[in-house]
Amino acid sequence: MIESIQRSLIWTICCLVLMSWNVASGQGLLALRGARIETASKEGVIEGGTVLIRDGKIEAVGKDLTIPIAARIIDLHGSTILPGFVDPYYVVSVGSDAQPEEVREVTFGGRTFRLPAGPAATPTVFTRIVDGFDPRSQKWLPTTRTGITNAQLVTSGFGESAMAQVNPELDDAVLTKQKSQLFLALANQTSSLQVLRSGLEIEKKEENSEGRPSPEAIAAMMRGRGGRGGRPGGPPPGGAPSGPPSAPRGGETKSPADSLWQAVRDGQQPLFVNANNAAAILYLTEALKDSPKAKVNLVADGANLFRTLESLDVERISVIMPPRIELVPNTRNRVNVAKMLNDKKLRLAFSLSLNQGDFRSSQDTPLFAVAMLVRAGLDRDVAIRALTSVPAEMLGIDKEVGTIEKGKLANLVVMDEDPFSGTAQITQVLVEGGPVYVK
C-alpha cells in the first residue's frame, strides 16, 4: 500500500512537471532524451536515445545526437518511447438519423404505389464517414489515454472511411485529408454478401425464376446509385437527407463508392472487411477467388480467425484483430491466435478499440492484452509493428506516421516501463510534438 502511495506521488510529480511543460512547449524545438526508443522501423530499438522534434515533425532519432542549444530537453530516462498507436478499425457511430427509410411513389398504369425504398438499418447502406460524423460527439479521452494517435474511422454497414488524428490544438480529433478507404461489415447473409459481390463484380449465374432482377442486379443498381438512401454523387453533408423522391436518375454518375470499388478490384487499395463470424470469413475467401486482384484487410476476432486459419490466403489477406488470448471455441484451452497468424506469415495489425470491453477496461495499462500475447510467444517486434507501422501501411499513411523516423510526424507514446511488462502505463502522448494526454 505504501508502495502504491509512493508511486502515486511520483506520478503526481511527473504529472505536474509535464503539465508545466505542456503549457510552455509550443511548436519549437524539443528533445526527448534518455529513453528507450522503439522505432518500429529498421533501426529497431535504440537504448538511451534521443528524439529531436522540430515543428511537430521528427528531425532526428539516434543514440548520440547533438542536441541544439535552443531545444527544450525532456529527460525520459527509464521510459520507453513508441510511435503513436494507429488503430486501423475504429468504429464510431454516425448519426443514424441521417439514413431514414425513404418512401418512393411510383405511378404506373393510372395507379399510384407508395413503396419503401428499402428496409431500415440494413448493412447495405453506404455511409461516408466525412458526411455524417461529428468529431465533437465522440469521447476522445479513452482514445488518447490508450495511446492511439491515428485511426481509421469506420461504422457499421459499409462505406467510405475517414482518417483521424488526435489534434493537439483543439484537444480533439480531426479528420485528416488522407486517403479514405472502403470498409464493409460482412455477415453470412445475402444482403451483406451482395454488397461484396457486386462491388467486386462477381457474377453469380443464377437465373431468377421470376424473370425479375436478381438481388445481385438490385445490389448492382444500388451500387450505381451510391447505395439506397445514399447520396448520389456525394452531395454536401448539409443536404436534406430525406427529401422528396428524386427524379428519375437518367445519367450514370460515378459515385464515390464506384471509384473506391474500382480501386479495390484493381488491387490498388485494400478492402476493409469486418467479418462478424467465421462463416462470413469463408464466404469472403470464396468471393476473393473470383476477384483475383482484390486485397483484403480482414477484421475479425481471434476465435473466428482460429477456425478459418487455413482458408486465409497470405498473399491477399492481412488481418486486423483485437489483441487478446482466445479460447478455442467450446473448450477451456487458451490459444494465441496472433502468434499463429504471424507464424503463418500473415500481416497482422491490432485494433485496440475493436473489443470495446477490453478497450474501456484496460486504459490504464493499454498494452496488457498485447503483453499477454507477447508472453505467450508472439514476437515482440511483431507486436510493436502490429500497433504502429503495419496499420499505418494498411491505411496508406505510413509516409507520415507509424514509425519513429526522420521526417515523420512526432506522434509518440511514452510509457513508464517496458511496454510489454503488462503493467506499463502511458505517461505521455504526443501528437505532432504536442502533448495530447499527460498522465
Binding site: P329, N330, T331, R332
Partner: protein, 416 residues
C-alpha cells in the same frame, strides 16, 4: 401397554387392508405358477442361467436354476426358454398414479394434503407403464409449493386402490427450488424464503412428534392436542418413511443436505439431483443419501461445450445408491428404462442401471422388504423380456404383479 405410534399405525393399516382386500381378492385364489426362463436377473446377486421362479400367494416361493428347483404339482408352468426374467422396475418420482391435480397452491407448505384418495389404479398411463416394465411407482404431489403433501407407494397393476397401495403415507414431498417460487414480493419468492418455510414447517412437525413421543413415554402430564394437519409427521420423524426432495443444482442440494438431513435427521431421497449437483457426490455419500436422478439425463457444461451424463457423473464419483426417474408425465412413465439407457449411453453400466431401477430404488423408498429384487418372500413382480431391458430394441413380453399376470403380449395388444 405398547403405546408406540408405529404399532398403532401398522395395526390400523393392517386392519384396513384386511378389511378391504379380503373380500376382493382371496389370496388363495391366486394361481401358483412356475416361471422358467433362459436367464434371471435377480438384482440380488449373480444372474441365474436357465432359472425357475416359483410363485405362490403373490410372493416368490423359490428361485434358482432349473436343476435346483423342482416344480411341485399344481403349479401352472410358464415357459420362456429364450427370454429374460427380472424384477419389476420402480420409479421414484411419478405423477401419473391418479388424477392430475397435483398442486394446491394457497399455502406454501401443505402437510395436510395426501394424494392416495385420488389414485386411479391401472389407468391408461399405468397400463402402458407396465408394458415398459414399471410395476411400482412413487406417486407424489407436484412441486408447486415447498411442501406438496404426502405421496403414495403403489403398484401399477389392476385392482382397487387398496390392492395397489403399498404404503400410504409413502413419502413426504418437499420441493426446494425451481418451481415452488412464488411471485415477487412474497415470502418464498426466493431461496431464503423457501428454505425458511420448509424449515419452519419441519420444526413444527418435529415439535409435535416430540410432544407425542414424550407423552407416550409417560414424560408429559397432559396429553398433547391432536393436530390432524401434523399427524403424518410421526412416521416421518420416526424415520419410517422418507422425504423425496425435489432439489437440483449445486447450491440447492447443499441446502437440502443441511436442512433435511443435518438439521432434521430425516430419511430422504434426492429426487432430481440434476444440473451440476453431482459435484456434491462426496457430501451425499458421507450422509448415505440415495439419488434418483432425472428426468434430465445430461448437463450441458457451457464452459467446455460438452454434454455430461448426470448419472454417470455421480457414478464416477462413487455413489452406489443411484437410480433414474421419469417425473412422469414429463417423461412418459413407460420410458423409465430409456432414462437408464441414456445414462448408460453417457457412461453408466448396464448392471448398475438395472440395480438402479430395482433394488436401489426400493431401498431409497424403504420398500426393499417387498420389491426391488427377485428373492424368496418378496412380491412376485416379475418382467419377462426379450433381452436386457436397457436396450430399446428389446421389449417386455409378460408382466407379473403380486404373482398375477397383468400383461402378456400373446393376449394383449402390445402397448410399448
Amino acid at each position: 401397554m405398547n403405546r408406540s405410534y408405529t404399532g398403532k399405525w401398522v395395526g390400523r393399516a393392517l386392519l384396513w387392508c384386511s378389511l378391504l382386500i379380503a373380500p376382493a381378492v382371496n389370496a388363495d385364489e391366486k394361481p401358483k405358477m412356475a416361471v422358467r426362463v433362459g436367464k434371471i436377473i435377480t438384482s440380488a446377486g449373480d444372474p441365474i442361467i436357465n432359472g425357475t421362479i416359483l410363485i405362490s400367494n403373490g410372493k416368490i416361493e423359490a428361485i434358482g436354476t432349473q436343476d435346483e428347483i423342482a416344480i411341485p404339482e399344481g403349479y401352472q408352468i410358464i415357459d420362456h426358454p429364450d427370454r429374460f426374467a427380472m424384477p419389476g422396475l420402480i420409479d421414484a418420482h411419478s405423477h401419473v398414479g391418479g388424477s392430475g391435480d397435483l398442486n394446491e397452491m394457497v399455502y406454501q407448505t401443505n402437510p395436510e394434503l395426501r394424494n392416495w384418495d385420488q389414485i386411479i389404479p391401472h389407468n391408461d398411463d399405468l397400463k402402458v407403464a407396465i408394458a415398459g416394465g414399471v410395476t411400482t411407482i412413487c406417486y407424489i404431489p407436484g412441486s408447486g409449493t415447498n411442501m406438496g403433501g404426502w405421496g403414495t407407494l403403489m403398484k401399477t397393476g389392476p385392482g382397487k386402490p387398496a390392492d395397489v397401495i403399498m404404503r400410504a403415507p409413502g413419502v413426504l414431498k418437499i420441493a426446494q427450488s425451481g418451481n415452488p417460487e412464488r411471485s415477487g414480493g412474497e415470502v418464498g419468492s426466493g431461496r431464503m424464503g423457501m428454505n425458511y418455510v420448509i424449515r419452519q414447517q419441519l420444526l413444527e412437525g418435529r415439535l409435535y412428534v416430540q410432544q407425542w413421543d414424550a407423552w407416550e413415554r409417560g414424560e408429559l402430564q397432559t396429553k398433547p392436542e391432536l393436530n390432524l394437519r401434523l399427524e403424518y409427521f410421526k412416521p416421518l420423524f420416526h424415520r419410517e418413511i422418507p422425504v423425496v426432495v425435489h432439489t437440483q443444482a449445486y447450491q440447492v442440494v447443499q441446502s437440502t443436505l443441511r436442512i433435511v438431513h443435518d438439521e432434521m435427521n430425516l430419511r430422504l431421497v434426492i429426487d432430481h439431483g440434476t444440473f451440476d449437483s453431482f459435484k456434491l457426490t462426496d457430501e451425499i455419500i458421507k450422509r448415505d443419501i440415495p439419488v434418483m436422478a432425472g428426468p434430465r439425463g445430461f448437463w450441458y457444461e457451457p464452459e467446455d461445450g460438452q454434454v455430461k451424463g448426470i448419472v454417470s457423473e455421480y457414478d464416477k464419483r462413487g455413489l452406489v445408491s443411484l437410480g433414474v426417474n421419469t417425473d412422469a408425465p414429463v417423461i412418459p412413465q413407460e420410458e423409465l428404462f430409456f432414462q437408464a439407457s441414456m445414462a448408460v449411453r453417457y457412461g453408466w453400466t448396464e448392471a448398475k442401471a438395472i440395480r438402479g431401477m430395482t433394488i436401489e430404488a426400493a431401498k431409497a423408498l424403504m420398500i426393499d422388504d417387498r420389491v426391488g429384487s427377485l428373492e424368496v418372500g418378496k412380491d412376485a413382480d416379475i418382467l419377462i423380456t426379450t433381452g436386457s431391458i436397457i436396450d430399446p430394441r428389446n421389449y417386455v413380453t409378460q408382466v407379473f404383479i403380486d404373482g398375477a399376470s397383468v400383461y402378456d403380449i400373446r393376449t394383449d395388444r402390445r402397448r410399448f
